[in-house]
Subunit: 306 residues, 2 copies
């Protein structure tokens, strides 16, 4: 079958914080890169390192055996794959298309179907692990697509992550990422509500953290994000506005399937309030600020009740 | 001041699964134990190891310099401390009273006040870590009481736990435990909703677990309880009915303080449904069963949608 030889040439679409680190790993691993990004400046370090610039996603795709994309929103994914001068229309015969954006399962299936019509293979492969995971090539990569497409993508994806799991057919990678985001979003409520409750009761939340973080209440977020929130550090690791995007996709999928997600609905309401308060550009730990400021108001200035 | 010498004689009230292991540690550490339990059989191994039996909490308390209790519900705590033949009325002058039951902060304050009227000191010191933590003397102990009472209790409590933190005045230990339970209860929603979503979408939840358990979605519960749930093992580590008891106490406290706890409200509704389905004697991981059976119904038999 065409295109089953090892991939050597990759079109990389989207060279933001995540994409740039990932593209660097591929350059270092010896792949020839053709890059496109909405703002060219962000691609400059890659161009200096030997990548070749293209003026459209389609032009980059036409020059490569494989396309990897990681952009912002589902609308961006739709545009670069299915829009004018898009990837599906312009990719070379037999090319493998891998979208690593967190996007909708339904769109992933549409792209896979459109790709198949042109004899192309598609994999949806969103990631978790954030900018640090991308930099250190230890992302968790959740892949959806045919077994054949996954097998072909595997050697390249292994350069980018540590946990690479084939979750099922087209869209399954995105569904797995939605499951991840559900656990993340609802898990944020868990520690934020717990520590804000303690603060309202007059306890020192940092001391409560000492008591609870090592046991059954423990989580990655309690260990890593709660201390930032308690220190008043709401700088983004993962943006509130992106959390809301992902919650919206997951709730749409849940509604389509008739799956009730009361925890996630509660998280959406809380994050929506965080956004309304003007903290959309904060990190997701800003949810603690919502709870603790609300409780300070309710408690009449947070006087001790313990 | 009276009673400030090192404690050598302890009354231990409540020798259930947790209490028996804890009492054994104290016997081994050389303390003389006077025990009471509602059903005497459960105390027999301790009596065989040298503890002395009493027919009431008050009688045991009268024979000791310190009282430790760990019983079932707040009503039991109220009964043994403030009821007829109770601890507060019968404790010897200068005794130190330490309740380790998960109970209400308000009751802890009432007991401390009643104790103070008789010249006794009281500490509320609930724990997390479960039966395994009790057996291995690595409980997290969250203490409330005066600095003086805590200092006096510390050498004894150190025989029972690994993380011993003074959280504040009377009731603060219970408030900290409530914070722990909020994080636990809402955190259970997080992974259960995530994995049931994935199952509804046609994914294999065990494979999704592989992708998400090591990252930002990770938690103690996802690591330790989700695999049991996925294997159909709903045997109790921590009972659903006890989770509901603790959620009820926490929500009462939240209401008193005017603290909004939407995540915990959502968890209560879900666990209440678990109870209604007859799974109150199951472990808390039965919440996954609720989600996944509901979703199987919604999905018309769980056919693949990925």
């Amino acid at each position: 079958m065409q295109g089953m030889a090892d991939v050597r040439t990759i079109a990389f679409i989207g060279t933001g914080v995540m994409g740039r680190s990932m593209a660097e790993h591929l350059l270092r691993a010896g792949y020839a890169l053709h890059v496109f990004n909405r703002t060219r400046e962000k691609a400059e370090p890659l161009l200096a390192a030997g990548a070749q610039w293209h003026d459209s996603p389609g032009s980059a795709a036409a020059a490569a055996e494989m396309v990897i994309s990681i952009v912002g929103f589902p609308a961006d994914v739709e545009q670069i794959y299915l829009g004018a001068e898009g990837i599906v229309e312009n990719a070379s015969v037999g090319a493998l298309l891998v979208d690593m954006t967190t996007s909708s399962p339904r769109l992933a299936r549409r792209i896979a179907a459109a790709a198949a019509e042109r004899g192309l293979m598609a994999v949806d492969a969103p990631v978790s692990g954030g900018d640090v995971g991308a930099r250190e090539a230890r992302l968790a990569i959740m892949a959806g697509g045919t077994a054949e497409a996954f097998a072909r993508a595997r050697p390249v994806l292994e350069k980018l992550g540590r946990t690479l799991v084939h979750q099922g057919g087209p869209g399954a990678g995105q569904h797995c990422k939605m499951a991840n985001q559900i656990a993340v979003a609802v898990g944020m409520l868990a520690w934020a509500e717990a520590l804000a409750y303690a603060k309202t009761a007059g306890l020192d939340p940092a001391r409560v953290w000492e008591s609870i973080s090592g046991g059954a209440a423990g989580s990655w977020a309690l260990t890593n994000l709660a201390p930032r929130a308690l220190a008043g550090d709401f700088a983004p690791g993962f943006y509130v506005k992106h959390m809301l995007k992902d919650i919206g996709i997951a709730l749409d999928c849940a509604a389509e399937m008739g799956f009730a997600a009361p925890g996630l609905e509660t998280a959406r309401a809380a994050y929506h309030r965080v956004l309304e308060l003007g903290w959309g550009e904060c990190g997701t730990q800003a949810i603690y600020r919502l709870y603790s400021e609300a409780s300070t108001a309710a408690a009449g200035g947070g006087k001790s009740r313990a």
